[in-house]
């Protein structure tokens, strides 16, 4: 009975979304103008800051060494994250690698949810700019499990409105607009989200990471917020990164 009400509610919410032809939808010219803005992305400053922070820990060279790859192979290797790393015996995001490197190097590790970590993550991912996402979810049982968990996390309806990520980000909503914003179908093959996060969010006037964005989305949709770096969160990133496989990485992105 209770679930019945919940489902009805979420249907009602979806019905309140309007279609792309609505008068409040932005024109393509407007969109082009916003796209042009990424030429001068305020997050470029944070990326430069992240580069400086990494330089205290050995820079690109130190990072490559820590990961056990050559500096030449580093960009392509970064384009394959999140990865299963034997040393940690788990699937990790780049931010967790940075954290581990800090700890091993005798530094006090930064919190995953901190501005400096976001800057570091953005810089490290930007090393792979121009590379195509090459995540391999069949590389090992751990990655397979992470992908499956990510899909489950994406599809599971929860929270006060019984919504899942899929409720608003599936093929069913293509062309719909949530107050001037076309909702992206994140579950589609070729969804590019993972290639453009971390990004500058104009609404927050700050640099945000993909996992941080998931948290914001969960909070607003009344879902219990999953911590950054948790198994489910990394799995969700694995799932969406797989959808973006083959997309060219372009960090920092610029988002509304």
């Amino acid at each position: 009975m209770k679930t019945g009400i919940k489902i009805a509610l979420s249907v009602a919410m979806l019905a309140s979304l309007s279609f792309g032809s609505d008068q409040f939808a932005m024109s393509d010219a407007d969109r082009a103008m916003y796209a042009e803005m990424s030429e001068n992305n305020p997050a470029d400053i944070m990326v430069a800051d992240g580069e400086e922070l990494l330089s205290y820990m050995g820079g690109d060279e130190g990072f490559a060494k820590y990961l056990g790859v050559s500096e030449d192979d580093l960009p392509a290797y970064i384009a394959g994250f999140p990865r299963y790393i034997k040393k940690f015996d788990m699937v990790v995001g780049l931010d967790q690698v940075i954290q581990a490197m800090m700890a091993d190097g005798g530094h006090k590790p930064l919190k995953l949810k901190s501005g400096n970590m976001f800057s570091l993550l953005a810089y490290v991912k930007s090393i792979a700019n121009g590379e195509k996402i090459n995540i391999d979810v069949n590389a090992n049982p751990q990655m397979k499990a992470a992908y499956a968990l990510g899909e489950k996390t994406f599809m599971t309806r929860r929270g006060g409105r019984g919504l899942s990520c899929n409720s608003c980000h599936s093929a069913d909503i293509v062309g719909r607009v949530l107050r001037t914003q076309p909702l992206p179908d994140l579950g589609a093959k070729g969804a590019k989200a993972a290639a453009t996060w971390p990004a500058y969010r104009m609404t927050k006037s700050s640099l945000r990471t993909m996992q941080r964005r998931f948290q914001g989305c969960m909070k607003n949709a009344l879902l219990k917020v999953i911590p950054i770096g948790s198994k489910q969160m990394v799995a969700l990133e694995v799932y969406l990164t797989q959808k973006a496989k083959g997309s060219e990485i372009n960090i920092p992105g610029l988002k509304r």
Partner: protein, 155 residues
């Protein structure tokens, strides 16, 4: 005349409540910005009373619908040779409804090579954005466009 006086008195009464923020609803009243100036006054201040001409030489690029009122891209380009004798002296960007109509006054020189300025402004609601341009011969040109500000998307 009498009616006007009556309204004048009302106006002063309202002003008095506004300066005592501890009292009643005045605490919730929108605080005035440090540089509050309405659009007409701002234009007059900049032009010194001259009337600006609407001109196709001034290209104002703003979105018709802003994704986010906090970050509205504005680009002003002026068709000008930018030589020592004929150049764009200043580009002013103004808004219609913000507490302070002035956003930025940009003073260019021939060393800029091209007359263009681009930035991002905050708009607290749907309103006109105006580019007011001063040429080296003292002439003022302008271009305006309305920007619809919506509260977009989630969070």
């Amino acid at each position: 005349m009498q009616r006007r006086d009556f309204f004048k008195k009302l106006g002063t009464a309202a002003a008095i409540t506004a300066v005592i923020p501890a009292m009643s609803f005045a605490g919730d009243a929108k605080p005035k910005g440090p540089n509050a100036m309405d659009f007409d006054t701002a234009v007059k201040t900049i032009t010194g009373g001259k009337t600006p001409k609407s001109s196709k030489k001034v290209k104002l690029k703003v979105p018709e619908i802003a994704e986010n009122g906090a970050v509205v891209p504005v680009t002003v380009t002026v068709d000008s040779p930018m030589t020592a004798s004929n150049y764009v002296k200043a580009i002013h960007i103004l808004d219609g409804k913000n507490s302070n109509a002035r956003c930025i006054d940009v003073f260019l020189t021939p060393a800029n090579g091209k007359a263009m300025f681009s930035t991002r402004i905050k708009l607290g609601g749907t309103q006109n954005v105006t580019a007011l341009v001063e040429l080296s011969n003292g002439e003022f040109l302008m271009a305006s466009q309305s920007v619809k500000v919506t509260i977009g998307g989630c969070g």
